[in-house]
């Protein structure tokens, strides 16, 4: 069950920006201050932004490590070292702002020649240079449209903070390289996430926590490389599980627990086997060995 997703969430109060204060300060006042002061403000804002960026990356890394402890019982390295695992979300596109040259992230198929802006730069957009009388037919209309067409990227609205390389984020915190994220926290390399926490490389997920490589799922906890998982916990490399817990390498299961390879086990035999398999999986991930991604598994990749 997917929770109700409100694309735009609660409207932002007029005149306020959601990012760190100095960035907003630059965005709002840049046109009113002399050049030297403006440059100074930009330097202050940049250093402050870097501080925010570092804080975000450190928080996301801590979250990744705690997710690994919850999933595998041990850490498998830093987020950066494991970037190769996160392949399910469409990668963010990057461009430069037409106004400031700053980096803008977006996911929509904006044209290659598009003039980009980030959300904080909207107040700095130039006013239209034409009057209603200049627009007479389709050609003049399209000329005018081209002039005012600035595509907005890095959109984070509502109550959001610590967002980087992301787009279409609503009411969320600590989001990195992700898009279409609503009411969530600690999200990296993910897409279409609603009301979830600690998601890494997930796609189309709602109300879930501590997951890596989860697709098309909801109400899931502690899940690694699985898809079509509903109301489940402690699921590893499974495809289609509903109301299940403690399942590994299983598929097409409903209301089951203690399963490995679709075999029903007793708790006493499941627990030591799970421990052994998890330590093997953690070792495979640490040594960057392939074979645990669900996309590789379902593709019938030979070991």
């Amino acid at each position: 069950m997917r929770v109700y997703a409100l694309r735009r969430g609660k409207p932002k109060a007029a005149g306020r920006t959601i990012h760190h204060k100095p960035r907003a300060l630059v965005a709002r006042s840049a046109s009113h201050v002399p050049t030297f002061a403006r440059e100074l403000l930009i330097i202050i804002a940049a250093s402050s932004f870097m501080g925010e960026s570092l804080e975000l990356l450190a928080a996301i890394d801590r979250s990744f490590k705690s997710a690994c402890r919850a999933i595998f019982g041990q850490e498998i390295g830093s987020l950066r070292e494991n970037e190769r695992l996160f392949t399910y979300a469409a990668p963010m596109k990057k461009g430069k702002s037409a106004l400031s040259g700053a980096e803008v992230s977006y996911i929509a198929p904006y044209p290659a020649r598009a003039k980009l802006i980030s959300m904080e730069e909207k107040p700095r957009l130039p006013p239209p240079k034409f009057s209603p009388n200049d627009i007479k037919d389709i050609d003049s209309l399209l000329r005018a449209a081209r002039e005012c067409a600035y595509y907005c990227g890095s959109k984070a609205i509502g109550n959001s903070k610590y967002i980087e390389r992301s787009d279409n984020v609503t009411d969320s915190f600590f989001v990195y390289a992700s898009h279409n994220i609503t009411k969530s926290e600690y999200i990296a390399y993910s897409e279409l996430v609603i009301k979830s926490k600690h998601q890494f490389g997930s796609s189309a997920v709602g109300e879930s926590e501590f997951c890596m490589g989860l697709s098309e799922s909801s109400l899931a906890k502690r899940v690694f490389e699985s898809a079509q998982v509903q109301t489940c916990s402690d699921i590893y490399c499974c495809f289609f599980a509903r109301n299940c817990r403690d399942c590994m390498f299983s598929f097409g299961q409903q209301s089951k627990m203690f399963m490995i390879g679709n075999n029903q086990l007793e708790k006493a035999s499941y627990v030591p086997l799970k421990k052994e398999l998890l330590s093997q999986m953690a070792a495979m991930l640490k040594s960057k060995k392939k074979g645990l991604l669900l996309s590789d598994i379902v593709g019938g990749r030979d070991g």
């Binding site: 069950m1 109700y4 997703a5 409100l6 694309r7 735009r8 469409a90 929509a108 904006y110 044209p111 598009a114 957009l125 239209p128 034409f130 009057s131 209603p132 627009i135 389709i138 209309l141 005018a144 449209a145 081209r146 005012c148 600035y150 907005c152 959109k155 279409n168 279409n180 796609s203 189309a204 098309e216 898809a227 079509q228 490399c237 495809f239 289609f240 390498f249 598929f251 097409g252 409903q254 490995i260 390879g261 679709n262 075999n263 086997l273 398999l277 093997q280 495979m284 074979g291 645990l292 669900l294 996309s295 590789d296 598994i297 379902v298 593709g299 019938g300 990749r301 030979d302 070991g303």
Partner: protein
Amino acid sequence: MASKKIGKAWATTSSIVLGEPLSGLDRFGKWLFSGMPGWREVKTKSGQVIVPCYAVFPGLPDSKVALMKNIEEVGGILLDIKSTPSAESLSCQMGRKGKFIVDLAEGENFDVDKCSIYKNLSAAHMSLDCFYSKYLAYSWFCDNNDHIFGCQFTFFSSFSIKCYHSSHLQRCFEMDSCSKCSDSYFCHDCENLQNCMFCFNVNNLRYAVANVVVGKEKFESLKKQVLARTVRELKEKAAASLSVYNF
């Protein structure tokens, strides 16, 4: 092929939004689904299924796709764990022996054709991951809508065609990242627009074109020209050249 109900809904919506009823919904399928991740139709022994082309699904071979109605059979395929299994051997076995259920249908659904991953839909055709909606076709990840065609990440909207990342739209066409707008066309990142065209990054406007308020008469005349061109192209080529992502 789209059902009569859906065909009628498409004619009604195109008449309201574009000013002329269009027939033959499937003819416009490629145009309506452009810019979305796509899908593929897979025939299994138990029937046809639509497999989405995002996340883990693109790598799934056709021979391994199963339907929800075969869940007992799929869940009964056992992997060998007699000799102490390794994670590597289990993943290999799962790849070789496993069948994977792709279609997920929950709630009450009526007249749903060629859809995958849905809940509580009525009169839906060729849509992926759509919930709580009626009269929709060629849409992806849309909830709580009615009469929407070619939409993506669109919520609480009605009578709209080709709208993306938006919510609360009525009678709109080619809108991106907009909310609470009605009777508007080709707008991006706007809120609370009524009767606007080609507006970018603005809020609270009526009868505006390219971010300039032009008045009702001029707006209607320009809208007529733009829609006439769009309908002509659609009738000739089943696709329109103007798009919100074209500027």
